[in-house]
């Protein structure tokens, strides 16, 4: 005959209507921020793994050599490389392959066909042997003036700095959204305490402990936090899938692939729960601190 219920009619408060939407919006932003950070992080890991143990030798036709046979120069450079200790293999990229690499920036316009494209040699090296890249570059310059040796370290270092900055920025956004969610819960809890002051006073009079009253607020906040969190995650997933579809055409060329590992999906799926727990703890602390000031 007696049902489980809340002594405080918190469900009827206006905060019950607006709080899930605010939390949903915050979780939405947090999911997008986290996803971008995780996608960039994965891309850097893939790029780092892909470039480790490789060198790229670029042979540019110099002013004097313009029109000369660049292929012959490239062959000479290849022979120098093959004779270098620590080089495990080389592959000369065809003009078509070099053109394909530049296609995202230059397009397929016929006008670009006449541009003096450099020749590239992909070199696989033994990572256990330390190579003197300056000496190698000097050797190559003798047979192929203007040849450069790129071990990708500088490019990677710059990229990693950029990605780490984006990650920090994303973490800042996540922290900011968490802070706003916390402030929202504090505001809602204080409003609830003010609106239901008479009921709370009555519960006190008849012997309710502060924790008994706080429990009602914290479960209410947990419910609203979960509701808002799931809504926000759902909206963010829709946005991500839409973005993934739009990026599908270009991702293989200039944008990192929009895919996450199972662990990263678990982190995203856990966000509503984390948000709800933060809301619950915030409500509990706020209510207990306020009640402690009552007679």
């Amino acid at each position: 005959m007696i049902r489980r219920h809340s002594d405080l009619p918190l469900e009827r408060d206006s905060s019950s209507r607006f709080m899930p939407w605010i939390i949903a919006f915050m979780v939405f932003l947090a999911v997008l921020s986290l996803t971008s950070a995780m996608v960039l992080n994965s891309a850097v890991s893939r790029w780092t793994a892909g470039l480790t143990g490789t060198l790229t030798v670029q042979i540019i036709a110099s002013e004097e050599d313009r029109g000369a046979d660049l292929a012959a120069v490239t062959e000479k450079a290849a022979k120098v490389l093959q004779a270098t200790p620590g080089v495990e293999g080389i592959r000369i990229l065809s003009e078509r392959e070099v053109g394909a690499l530049l296609e995202p920036w230059l397009g397929t316009d016929e006008a670009f066909k006449d541009l003096p494209l450099p020749r590239l040699i992909d070199v696989t090296i033994d990572e256990t042997i330390e190579m003197d890249l300056e000496a190698l570059a000097a050797q190559l310059a003798e047979v192929a003036p203007g040849a450069t040796v790129d071990d990708h370290r500088k490019w990677l270092a710059d990229l990693i700095t950029l990605v780490r900055s984006v990650e920090l920025f994303s973490a800042g956004i996540v922290l900011l959204t968490a802070l706003i969610a916390i402030l929202t819960v504090i505001f809602a809890a204080r409003t609830g305490l003010a609106v239901h002051h008479h009921v709370i006073e009555l519960l006190h009079i008849i012997g309710a402990r502060d924790s008994y009253i706080a429990r009602q607020f914290q479960y209410h906040a947990l419910t609203l936090g979960l509701r808002g969190g799931i809504l926000g995650l759902g909206l963010a997933l829709v946005a991500l899938f839409a973005l993934s579809g739009v990026a599908g055409d270009v991702q293989s060329r200039v944008v990192p692939e929009l895919s996450l590992s199972a662990g990263q999906w678990v982190v995203l799926a856990g966000l509503p729960l984390i948000t709800a727990v933060i809301a619950m703890l915030t409500a509990r602390i706020t209510v207990l601190r306020t009640l402690a000031r009552m007679p």
Binding site: P9, I205, I206, G207, Y212
Partner: protein
Amino acid sequence: MVSLDPVVRFENVGMRYGRGPEILRDISFALEPGCFYFLTGLSGAGKSSLLRLMYLGHRPSRGLISLFGHDISTVPSVKLPDVRRRIGVVLQDFRLLDHLSALDNVALPLRIAGARSDQINEHVVELLRWVGLEQQLNARPPTLSGGEQQRVAIARAVINRPSLLLADEPTGNIDDKIAMRVLYLFEELNKVGTSVVIATHNESLVNRFDYPQMHLEDGQLHQTSAAQRISA
């Protein structure tokens, strides 16, 4: 062994709201276990405020209050709920929870005290039947008359078999017949050991009983024993 400590003891107690003037001054009295008192005075004399001090709804601005032998100023705040659970309070505005049924309203003190559901159900139904509300168990307060709401409030105050019952104008909204019935209920509780203090401005009702009286006037308390009242 029965404790002989007064249920309530006030020593030079003063009370003010915020920074306002002191509305109760130098209040000193002691209520022995099993006593029955009327607290009288004109409207605004401070009867409700004095009751607030007794049920720990407000801190005194000065003086000493002890309940059940414990100096309240030294009781840790985590222990105060235990003290409050020994006090039943009927508030002037009833303070029923509109979203709960009469049954759930009366069950509130038991639920807060952690009683088992089956015990709660049994006791609450029995008490509501006793105050004549067996047909209104699942009714919500807004659908009840003023008198019915008052009886729900009284049932909620006594469901825990309190050691001290404080009632603020418990007969204010009900007719004389039901008022007498309510007072007889308080008498019955008093007979089983509950100390009772009833604040009222209804002199005619007070005069029908021979209980001692505490009278508030100009923020000060004057006590009249039963014998003095009879001789007067």
